[in-house]
């Protein structure tokens, strides 16, 4: 079998459709790092960052909602904005 002749389809990458999820995951990692390097007495910092991240993710979800023009898919149909 000639592996060099294999043709792989170009993935349908559209990160905008998973923008809220990406923001949530990034903020989750950020909160973990802040907790690892921050002082134990500053418990309010991680909570504040989490709430801010949730607000930004909610805003991005609202933006996706307002800019919706019919069902769109990404990653070859694995993600659907319906």
């Amino acid at each position: 079998m000639d592996f060099l002749a294999l043709q792989f389809p170009t993935p349908d990458v559209n990160l905008w459709l998973i923008l809220p999820e990406l923001i949530i995951c990034t903020v989750g990692v950020l909160v973990m790092l802040v907790d690892a390097f921050g002082k134990p007495t500053q418990r309010w910092v991680t909570g504040s960052i989490s709430l801010a991240g949730l607000a930004v993710a909610a805003a991005s979800a609202g933006w996706l909602w307002l800019s919706w023009h019919g069902a769109s898919t990404a990653f070859n149909g694995m993600i659907v904005l319906g």
Binding site: L17, I18, P20, E21, I24, C25, V27, G28, V29, V31, M32, V34, D35, A36, G38, R43, T46, G47, I49, S50, G53, L54, T73, G77, M78, I79, V80, L81
Partner: protein, 205 residues
């Protein structure tokens, strides 16, 4: 939550939320499974967050075993569904009008295989949303988990799983059971009579 690392809990909460969001935006059963696992693994840790408390450890261990068991059922159901329809996405349901791409239980070329797959997916999600009769260890998980973890597990995770079961599994696999008139009626009847049946036999020692 006094004395416990708040940052880790917030981080786990964010990952659980991301898993739920992935489940909600999934167009493919593989993404549903990935989202469910992201949600579940974060919830296992949250249930056992009080590491020095034996009941919290018991809660986490029981939920982990229960979750692993249900994930295996769910994955096997997804595999059977794929075998019956050659799809693992929404087209498995939407292609029912095409004769060469049978979509649901009424039009499938392999109805038994699809029925088995859908039934196993229902069992898997039944464990996840703790519906009767798959609810046996769930009270122990509720009892031992810290209150915030218990709320995430009890409200948000169950809501996400229930919405998915309702929107995808039931409508996809059992269209004759779930009619357009009242799509929640079978679930209500099931929850009511079976819940009432087993309620009297459950107690906490």
């Amino acid at each position: 939550m006094n004395g416990l690392p708040a940052g880790e809990f917030h981080s786990l909460l964010m990952f659980a939320t991301a898993g739920m969001m992935f489940m909600a935006s999934a167009g493919d059963l593989v993404i549903v499974f990935l989202g469910l696992e992201i949600l579940s693994i974060a919830t296992y840790v949250m249930c056992g967050f009080r590491r020095t408390d034996v009941r919290s450890n018991e809660s986490s261990m029981k939920y982990f075993i229960l979750g692993s068991f249900s994930s295996a059922f769910l994955l096997y159901g997804i595999a059977l569904t794929y075998g019956a329809t050659a799809h693992d996405d929404r087209t498995a349901r939407h292609d029912k009008h095409r004769r060469d791409q049978p979509g649901d239980l009424l039009t499938s070329q392999y109805p038994l295989l699809l029925f088995a797959g859908a039934a196993m997916m229902l069992v898997g999600f039944g464990f996840k949303i703790a519906t009767a009769p798959f609810h046996v260890w769930t009270p122990d998980v509720y009892e031992g988990a810290p209150t915030p973890g218990h709320r995430v597990h009890g409200r948000r995770a169950k809501s996400g799983g229930l919405c998915f079961v309702h929107a995808r599994v039931l409508l996809f696999a059992f269209p004759f059971v779930v009619s357009n008139a009242d799509r929640r009626l079978p679930e209500r009847i099931h929850a009511a009579w079976l819940g009432a049946l087993v309620w009297s036999s459950q107690f906490s020692p």
